[in-house]
């Protein structure tokens, strides 16, 4: 390499190898970290196919649409394929076990979808930047896509954001988040104001059959209840519950009928996106315990008897962790590749070290 500009240039391009301090335990749990997605502005929320050979994820990567669409990624060939309509916004896809279906949420049926895309593109072309935020589009509904026929089946229809769906291990149920409560009853003035400033306040956990029938509400506590997943034995649902301020969130579990709601963490931070390791021993989740913008991955025993154990040590965002079906790998979303937008990462997961670390973690502190 040529000498001319080396000083400044090397400063810019050298990897931050030195950032790994002695108390960095990331390598205990994660090895052979690799970046999975490159194309497009951002990508995230990668969920495994039941055979562990593919991921389904959301990414903003096509000209003309500045919003997430849903893609599958074949981990053998590296080929990715869009399975969502391409129009509007989508989010939160999940493979249906024992089926060719993939569910996700989409706004493509909204006639204003194209207009929203054009408006956002025009906004960006003006050179302005806004902080990334999710707008809880009330036209968002859940669909099931058949990989065999290519057909989409609409599963939710009511007004209000329906999204964040995931299947039960037997593929018969979908647990999801809905804000329909803000639209299906008269709101008080205070609630109307709340809806304008933060609609997620009305988000609650619902369950339905995989064909969309039998929709039923499971939670009714003020503040954002969202991001629900079944545990691997199908016996419980794990999700995150925000307080009414929308600042503090903790990991909770309940039975699939909504009973026996138990708080797992009391971490005093925004702790969210919990997902159970297939061993059934612990949850991995994201928390900004160390600073508003610095989300790291943590893990905690399923009963929440211990303090959470930190997994990642990287500035910026590490979140949305999903272990592979065999528990040997972890997919997650991170900004560690540079920039402010996340991409999908994959690493080998050291389950034994995770168990050891949890076992030696201190007992849970009581926080107010």
């Amino acid at each position: 390499m040529q000498g001319l500009m080396r000083a400044a240039w090397l400063l810019l391009s050298v990897f931050l190898v030195g950032a790994a301090a002695d108390d960095n335990h990331e390598r205990d749990f994660l090895s052979r970290i690799r970046r999975l997605t490159v194309e497009g502005k951002r990508a995230g929320e990668g969920y495994w196919s039941p055979d562990g050979k593919r991921l389904v994820f959301q990414s903003e990567r096509e000209p003309g649409n500045p919003f997430y669409q849903i893609y599958t990624l074949d981990l053998t060939t590296g080929e990715s394929r869009r399975i969502s309509p391409g129009l509007g916004k989508t989010t939160c896809a999940f493979f249906r076990p024992r089926s060719d279906e993939i569910e996700f949420a989409s706004t493509h049926a909204d006639p204003k979808s194209k207009q929203f895309q054009d408006d956002e593109l025009a906004f960006r072309a003006s050179g302005k930047e806004r902080r990334y935020s999710w707008d809880y589009d009330p036209e968002m509904d859940i669909y099931a896509y058949s990989e065999k026929t290519g057909r989409l089946k609409q599963l939710t229809t009511v007004r209000g954001y329906d999204a964040e769906g995931s299947y039960s291990p037997d593929g018969q149920w979908i647990v999801f988040t809905s804000m329909r409560d803000a639209y299906n009853r008269p709101l008080s003035d205070a609630e109307k104001k709340q809806l304008e400033t933060d609609p997620s306040y009305f988000a609650e956990i619902y369950i339905m059959k995989a064909d969309g029938s039998g929709q039923r509400r499971l939670t009714s506590v003020a503040g954002y209840d969202g991001g629900p997943f079944f545990t691997h034995d199908g016996a419980r649902i794990v999700w995150r519950r925000f307080d009414v301020t929308g600042v503090i969130a903790d990991v909770w579990t309940m039975k699939p009928d909504g009973t026996d709601q138990r708080q797992v963490t009391s971490f005093g931070a925004m702790s969210w996106a919990p997902y159970e390791h297939p061993s059934g021993k612990y949850f991995i989740f994201a928390s900004n315990k160390l600073g508003f913008d610095n989300f790291e991955l943590y893990m905690v025993d399923v009963d929440g008897t211990k303090e959470p154990v930190r997994v990642t040590y990287s500035d910026g965002f590490d979140g949305l962790p999903v272990p592979s079906p065999d528990g040997t790998q972890l997919a997650w979303t991170s900004t560690r590749g540079g920039g402010s937008a996340g991409q999908l990462f994959l690493a080998q997961w050291n389950h034994q070290k995770a168990l050891d670390a949890i076992a030696s973690a201190p007992l849970k502190q009581t926080r107010k």
């Binding site: 390499m1 001319l4 090397l10 052979r32 999975l36």
Partner: protein, 584 residues
């Protein structure tokens, strides 16, 4: 079970064979015998013979219309003093950038010969009250020794001998002599003639003289250097210069050595039914390195000085990668010709690739893409940089797809304005990628040795690059080039530079003046109508003989205040007004 085991053994055997091959490539090129592969030397020749024999081994042929794999180009290897003399007692030696010529004239002493541009809001001008027109200017080397730190910091920036020579020339001096004062380091010694890669003349005869010669000249004024330096350093630093009632003759004899160096290029002809659209894919790496650290870019410590700079990572690793990717492609169907290139002169300023692109042996427009490998042997923590991804919209998808298999912790960087040969291909409009495993403590030192290379990871990089190469090979539509606008002015910008002109100098040129390799879209230079290929010869009344003059001249410009720029375009002298912006 047995069968599975046999396959496993077979697989691992194949992998090890590749790693062994890579180890052989790197170990050979980085061996002591090759002497650090400095451009134009015996070490370069030995490296070339090795690479050519390996090219033949994988079945590569010389390019169509070429007899040899080696493609010669000329470059300036250095300057030599052929016996510069002074008509006084004592010794003289030309400065490396001096013109040759005989000059006779009266002498004017101009202190340290430093002129701080007005824009610095720090008044210091050694010529303030001195007329040096047609004089031989005598200046002290370095800058006032006893000044406070801040003053020294400012003066140091303008005390480079090139800058002093430019200041003297611009004030009409016939020649500049420099003497090192008794209070300064290297007191009384001649300035060594250093290897200097920006080899253009400075437009003035400039020589250093020793203490004896200095004393002889000062004696004519009835003064001693020591006293004069003392008053300049500790008293008022603005002590005016003075004329010395004597006449001297300087005979400067400087030779710029033109040497021949060689790029290496071979190709693997397309197989089957070749693709017609852009029928070539290029792979390249420079094979030159720093020799024994003779030129300025060695970072060897005092203890290591003069030892062979092995250059195992920089860039035997890249050469190994090109040979290995070539070896893989040689065994597979290839709808496009594969061009395998090894550059010399890279460490001296991308000279080899510049020469290749200036008189290309094939149409550059026929290149579908160019993949460059520069320092790929020191992978840490699975991290790999893929750079210049902004040169085509196709890259991100290709990189993503190849990496799902390869599994690197990638850093993907769009910027193609890199200090490596890829830069020239980007300028030529070729979609390009550079592979890079990051810098390290042995960078540009003799300790960059073959035993420190991560061969298993290098092998993975080879597989990864080969997968990307295969995809380009097999896709009939070549990647479409995308222009990346430079984020900042490159290269000529020095630390602390405040002025932004939006020019991209061509470093490989040794034309008189500053040849523009391009202008930044939307920048002041473009607004002034300047374009690639223009040669700037004057800015704001300051003549520009070379890139150093240009860099210094920028300091004189004021932000927002239009400055006259004189330039040559197609042999015609033109001028325009350029309004510099503020560097962000």
């Amino acid at each position: 079970m047995k069968k599975a085991l046999a396959i496993a053994v077979l697989l691992s055997a194949t992998v090890h064979a590749d790693v062994a091959q890579l180890r052989r490539y790197v170990t050979t090129l980085a061996s002591e015998r090759f002497g650090g592969r400095q451009t134009g030397t015996e070490g370069e020749r030995l490296a070339r013979e090795f690479i050519v024999s390996e090219l033949k081994r994988i079945g590569a042929k010389p390019l169509p219309g070429q007899k040899d794999f080696a493609l010669p180009f000329e470059f300036t290897a250095g300057t030599r003093d052929l016996g510069t003399t002074l008509s006084m007692a004592g010794k003289a030696r030309a400065l490396s950038f001096s013109d040759s010529g005989d000059v006779t004239g009266g002498v004017a002493f101009a202190g340290y010969g430093i002129v701080v541009p007005e824009s610095q809001d720090f008044g210091y001008d050694s010529y303030a009250t001195l007329d040096v027109k047609d004089k031989v200017v005598l200046v002290l080397r370095y800058f006032p020794e006893d000044a406070d730190q801040k003053t020294r910091g400012i003066l140091a920036r303008y005390s480079d001998l090139r800058f002093k020579a430019m200041a003297a020339r611009q004030r009409g001096a016939k020649a500049m002599l420099v003497v090192t004062g008794p209070k300064s380091p290297n007191a009384g010694e001649l300035v060594p003639m250093t290897f200097d890669t920006a080899l253009a003349d400075s437009g003035i005869v400039a020589a250093s003289i020793d203490g004896a010669a200095g004393n002889a000249i000062f004696a004519a004024a009835g003064k001693s250097i020591a006293d004069v330096q003392q008053s300049l350093d500790s008293g008022n630093p603005h002590v005016a210069g003075f004329e010395i009632p004597t006449t001297v003759t300087v005979r400067a004899k400087v030779e710029r050595e033109r040497h021949t160096a060689y790029n290496i290029a071979g190709y693997l002809p397309a197989t089957g039914r070749p693709i017609a659209e852009k029928p070539w894919l290029g792979l390249g790496a420079h094979y030159d390195h720093l020799g024994h650290g003779e030129n300025g870019s060695s970072l060897a410590s005092k203890e290591e000085a003069g030892r062979t700079h092995a250059g195992a990572d920089d860039n035997a690793s890249g050469d190994a990668a090109v040979l290995a990717v070539g070896g893989i492609l040689a065994k597979q169907p290839r709808p496009r010709n594969v061009l395998l290139m090894f550059w010399s002169g890279e460490e001296l300023g991308l000279l080899g690739s510049s020469a290749f692109l200036a008189t290309p042996p094939l149409k550059i427009a026929d290149l579908a893409a160019y993949l460059n490998f520069d320092m790929v042997g020191r992978m840490q923590d699975n991290k790999l940089s893929v750079q210049a991804s902004g040169t085509s919209k196709s890259w991100d998808k290709l990189i993503e797809q190849a990496n799902v298999k390869a599994g690197f912790n990638l850093s993907v960087q769009p910027d193609p304005y890199l200090p490596t040969d890829l830069r020239n291909f980007n300028t030529a409009g070729v979609p390009s990628l550079n592979f890079f495993t990051g810098s390290h403590a042995d960078y540009h030192k003799p300790s960059d040795t073959a035993d420190k290379i991560a061969y298993d990871d290098l092998d993975r990089i080879v597989e990864f690059a080969a997968a990307i190469a295969r995809k380009i090979e097999d896709t009939p539509e070549p990647p479409v080039f995308a222009k990346v606008e430079p984020q900042t002015q490159q290269g000529a910008s020095r630390a602390g530079g405040r002025v932004y002109t939006g020019t991209v100098p061509d470093y490989a040129s040794d034309a008189k003046g500053l040849l523009l390799g391009g202008v930044v879209a939307g920048g002041p230079a473009e607004a002034a109508g300047l374009q690639k290929g223009d040669v700037i010869i004057e800015i704001a009344g300051q003549t520009i003989a070379n890139i150093y003059d240009y860099t210094y001249a920028l300091d004189v410009l004021k932000i927002g205040q239009p400055a006259k720029v004189v330039y040559m375009r197609g042999g015609e002298r033109k001028d325009t007004m350029l309004t510099p912006g503020a560097r962000k």
